[in-house]
């Protein structure tokens, strides 16, 4: 199964990223986008799965230095 994910960072418009993932991240997990780390807050199915493809929106918050 391929997961096509749109990541959005709360409070940071224009900072989103779209990429494929081998697995779906879950709330509370830390993901690395670019050079920075973010905590997953919310995962929403954007479109019903089609064939081998699932489509999701993930909202994250930035992990501040020293908070991890």
């Amino acid at each position: 199964m391929f997961h096509k994910i749109s990541y959005a960072i709360a409070g940071e418009p224009g900072s989103g990223l779209i990429r494929n993932e081998d697995r779906l991240p879950q709330p509370g997990e830390i993901v690395k986008l670019g050079d920075n780390e973010f905590e997953v807050v919310e995962v929403i199915e954007l479109i019903p799965a089609r064939g081998d493809w699932g489509y999701y929106h993930v909202t994250c918050t930035r992990v501040k230095d020293g908070e991890r």
Binding site: A8, P13, L17, H57
Partner: protein, 153 residues
């Protein structure tokens, strides 16, 4: 990673048989770019479609011809498995945004639009799948922009 493996993990090529992927792979050229390299300029005449094999590309809109707005506006960053330049495959209009390498390096598969269009015309089965998947990709991008507006004030 060989070209066909990359195509199998790219949504625009979903549903294609191995034989169809083999045909498409003959059109692909692999390139590697460095941080800051610009592969598409806003307003350019379109020539290629790009598949991201690794790394990230930033999609930005350049400042308007105005003394007020002098900053480029980042729209989104695209990573593994995404395509860039697909709108021009449909309407052949000038590029609507600029695209720069946003990671230290990025490896891309490049498809010449004229050659790809010729293949889609010559092989309608491939043409249908590509266009259907393109529509799905654009629907995804539209929906993700809508949900951002809704969830992220």
């Amino acid at each position: 990673m060989n070209v066909i493996d990359t195509l199998k993990e790219t949504e625009i090529f979903a549903g294609h048989s191995d034989a169809q992927l083999q045909k498409l792979s003959t059109l692909a050229k692999r390139i590697t770019i460095d941080a800051g390299d610009r592969i598409i300029g806003e307003g350019d005449v379109p020539g290629e479609l790009f598949v991201i094999e690794s790394g990230e590309l930033a999609i930005i809109v350049e400042p308007a011809q105005s003394k007020v707005n002098t900053n480029s506006v980042p729209l989104v960053t695209l990573g593994r498995g995404q395509i860039v330049g697909e709108v021009s495959l449909i309407d052949r209009g000038p590029r609507s945004a600029s695209v720069l390498c946003a990671s230290e390096k990025a490896t891309l598969l490049v498809f010449n639009l004229d050659a790809l269009t010729a293949l889609l015309d010559e092989d309608p089965a491939i043409g249908y799948l590509i266009m259907r998947n393109l529509a799905a990709d654009m629907a995804f991008k539209l929906r993700q922009r809508n949900i951002r507006e809704k969830l992220l004030p």
